[in-house]
Amino acid sequence: MDLEEAEEFKERCSQCAAVSWGLTDEGKYYCTSCHNVTERSQEVINTDLIPNTQIKALNRGLKKKNNSEKGWDWYVCEGFQNILCQQAEALKNLGIGPELKNDVLHNFWKRYLQKSKQAYCKNPVYTTGRKPTVLEDNRSHSDWASEPELLSDVSCPPFLESGAESQSDIHTRKPFPVSKASQSETSVCSGSLDGVEYSQRKEKGIVKMTVPQTLAFCYLSLLWQREAITLSDLLRFVEEDHIPYINAFQHFPEQMKLYGRDRGIFGIESWPDYEDIYKKTIEVGTFLDLPRFPDITEDCYLHPNILCMKYLMEVNLPDEMHNLTCHVVKMTGMGEVDFLTFDPIAKMAKTVKYDVQAVAIIVVVLKLLFLLDDNLEWSLSNLAEKHNEKNKKDKPWFDFRKWYQIMKKAFDEKKQKWEEARAKYLWKSEKPLYYSFVDKPVAYKKREMVVNLQKQFSTLVDSTATAGKKSPSSFQFNWTEEDTDRTCFHGHSLQGVLKEKGQSLLTKNSLYWLSTQKFCRCYCTHVTTYEESNYSLSYQFILNLFSFLLRIKTSLLHEEVSLVEKKLFEKKYSVTKKKSRSKKARRH
């Protein structure tokens, strides 16, 4: 097979920097991820090493040009494959191990192609008017059939799905009326061979690939690898342009032309939405029929104890709070492996929103300590302030008011910057998408015009203001002891809000209010909607702060807080639905 042959060629592709080479039937290397053909050819041409000549023909078909204007024949799924490849590459640059791309994502994708009957199966959906030539004989020597061994290296050329072209039996099978008629007709409506058909396809039980879905694949692979990237981090990196997503198609090889229906498939004009991608992740996981994911144990980044630590640092809260979050995790059982591990084949497939949950735990702890009723937190702050004034040498007590003032300022500035950056975001690609060849010159002229106007106005812009994009970081705020304006609270103590009782410590505050009094009686997990004005200002501020960090809706965080509370006060919920008192002791 091609890939095996090309294994000795280890140079990076000049276009996409991938090391994944196949051989053309002229013996030249081509990149399997971006279809770039090199000038280098295999040094020793040994025909014995080429077992399946039919595949060769296939590759030629792929690169065969209809005419120079129209570019290569390519399939929609190849486009998605290219995007996934770009994303995997970007993740690698962010420090994720190469196994993610080469093993996990690659296998998930192949599995997807098989499950959605686009390749690696007997009757691929595409082969309308083409002979269904799939490697039945090859399956035997790939261990693809043994499903749980996902990470096994299956080396198949990724373009097998395209099938060999054979115009002769155009009229023999017509399951999809649009694509069949003639090759030239379809290419009017889309650059890809199956763009029109693809956008019309609605098959029950098959998860159709979309651009947001690529992120679901990425997240699934990250989750499989237990990498230190949460979903909100991933989406933030997308928004900050560290991971290709919007206009990812503009990095397709030159000869993969996009227009017409491809525009609807690959053109994206929105950033990914947390809930949407979360849902898609579960959907894809279930569709792929994946086995239980590797366990999320206490030493994993996604474990609430570690994430809580991370977010406590991020929002400048005292390290001592970590003991309390750990305690809440323990009481609620949210640190259990079974609770945390994603198992798509379980009866009710669901995964944990690790980041949202960790933040919700912190909110609950804040409520336990300070009540957040716009009253108690301020009187506790007065005590802390007085104490700190008297004992300047001791470890200072955590002063909620001071923390609020500093965080409010930092948060407002950050948010303002974020909004400005969003408003300045340039959505349009260098490669304009058009509907048909008639529209092409218009689209290109319009692009040219925009570029010219931008060039003109760029001379009016202060060059220092538009510095390059910032480097990716999982932290958005930076708190250091040296900075005098922005006090760092990490080392502050919680002594002012805790009191000793025998061997354990109690929170001074003995009251608690529940974010949600009632849950839906139905099976959905819906919580009563979050009506901002019903809640205290401090609570609103904290929710706004955290939901901004995660780029999620405040209502989603509120919901998660309610769910954590439900676990924490399970008995109270079932007995009384009134304000519950909580006296929680913690060994010191």
């Binding site: 609807g264 004009e269 925009v450 106007l453 106005f457």
Partner: protein, 451 residues
């Protein structure tokens, strides 16, 4: 320069649901648009592209408002992408917004100059051809503002000869406007030449050449302007210069016709200047008084505080008709209703005289007609103690006139009148005494005494 004319022919068939609320006569309602949009997408989330570009637009506007030209340019840089919006309604609305905001930025930005403005204008003219004429015209005005008359004229000529697609009614007006501006520029040169001519001696050898020049110009100009001023609208500078030229060549009937049409045609919006021009013209022509009165009567209805009202009053006073005398009184009261006229000594003098004359002529009812609606507020508005003091300090003559009026209208007990009487001015002593007598005799407060 690229051109987007194909855009008009090309099919506009987006995949997305597209809505554009265009009602007749080129009007559109943005609020209705957003309403329809939300219905069309069934409450689905707006695309981030739409959200960020509209946020971007408000950032541009905010920066302009704060005169932060640099920031405005920065956001403008990103806003250009709306030209590629897949929503055809927004895409079509974009060029105009971009032109308006962009030209504003370039007008004020310290790094901008005429050249950058020209390039920008030329580019925008060709984005979505619909705005070609409008932008050409504004471009010309910008050049005029910078004193580049020749370039402005060339620009207008180019726009005038520009042809594209179908002729629409809105374009017709624009073409007329462009021609008229061209005419106005020609008028400007003509007017300069005329000045030259007036400085030259008739025997000067250059006289004939210049005179010929003047004549040629006027012919072209009148053709350019006359088309525009037939269309209903407010065309003050055009009408004024057109009439000036007609008068110069002795075409009085023509000038009068233009002015009469401009003032009286009901299709034209109500425009006080139209009547002022006509009145001034008639005055120059020494037209009969009745004609002038009828013109000013209309002006009186539109702008009762206009300074011509005092002239109107004198015209009415000179008239023989009694109703004109009554109207004369009304006009004076009307003028003094306005805060801007309170210190107009002529108006007060006229009013004092007119009141006295009216009362002497036994037309107490006329005065009371006017006074009844004002007696609640004029005493505080004009005749307070404060005004008495400050008027006396600033202008004793004015204070005297006002005091006389106050005495007549409010009686000798009124604060203003009493304050002025007390002042005991040496020169004005006699006058004040006479005033006191008249007030006693004619004041409307105790009318029985006057009989």
């Amino acid at each position: 320069m690229s051109d987007f004319s194909e855009e008009l022919k090309g099919p506009v068939t987006d995949d997305e649901v597209e809505t554009s609320v265009l009602t007749g006569a080129g009007m559109h309602f943005p609020w209705l648009q957003t309403y329809v949009e939300t219905v069309a997408i069934g409450g689905k989330r707006k695309k981030d592209f739409a959200q960020t570009t509209s946020a971007c637009l408000s950032f541009v506007q905010e920066a302009l408002l704060k005169h932060q030209w640099q920031q405005a340019a920065e956001y403008m840089y990103s806003y250009f992408q709306t030209l590629e919006d897949s929503d055809s309604y927004k895409r079509q609305a974009a060029p105009e917004i971009i032109w308006k905001l962009g030209s504003e930025i370039l007008f004020y930005h310290p790094k901008s100059n005429v050249e950058t403005f020209n390039t920008f204008a030329d580019r925008m003219k060709n984005v979505g051809v619909m705005n070609y004429l409008k932008i050409s015209l504004q471009h010309a005005l910008y050049l005029l503002h910078h004193g580049m008359l020749k370039d402005a004229k060339r620009n207008l000529s180019e726009a005038e000869t520009w042809r594209h697609g179908e002729n629409t009614s809105s374009r017709g007006i624009l073409i007329n406007l462009i021609q008229a501006y061209k005419g106005l520029l020609q008028y400007y040169t003509w007017s300069k030449k005329k000045m030259e001519l007036s400085k030259l001696d008739k025997d000067d050898y250059a006289y004939n050449a210049v005179a010929q020049d003047v004549f040629n110009h006027s012919w072209k100009t009148s053709a350019n302007i006359s088309a525009l001023i037939k269309i209903p609208g407010v065309w003050d500078p055009f009408v004024k210069s057109y009439v000036e030229m007609l008068e110069f060549y002795g075409d009085r009937d023509g000038a009068q016709e233009v002015l009469t049409n401009y003032a009286y045609d009901e299709k034209f919006p109500s425009n006080p200047n139209a009547h002022i021009y006509l009145y001034n013209f008639l005055k120059r022509q020494k037209a009969p008084r009745s004609k002038m009165i009828s013109v000013l009567k209309i002006l009186y209805q539109i702008v009762p505080s206009h300074k011509l009202m005092l002239e109107f009053h004198t015209l009415l006073r000179k008239s023989e008709k009694e109703e004109h005398h009554k109207l004369g009184l009304e006009v004076l009261f009307g003028v003094l209703d306005f805060a801007g006229c309170t210190k107009n000594i002529t108006a007060w003098k006229y009013l004092a005289k007119c009141l006295k004359k009216t009362l002497m002529g036994n037309h107490l009812a006329w005065v009371q007609d006017e006074w009844n609606s004002r007696k609640n507020w004029w005493p505080n508005f004009h005749f307070s103690y404060f005004w008495a003091k400050s008027d006396w300090k600033e202008d004793t003559a004015l204070a005297c006139e006002k005091a006389f009026v106050a005495g007549l209208l409010l009686g000798k007990g009124c604060r203003y009148f009493r304050y002025i009487l007390k002042q005991d001015h040496q020169i004005l002593g006699k006058k004040i005494k006479r005033m006191k007598r008249s007030v006693k005799k004619y004041s409307i407060v105790n009318p029985r005494l006057s009989y």
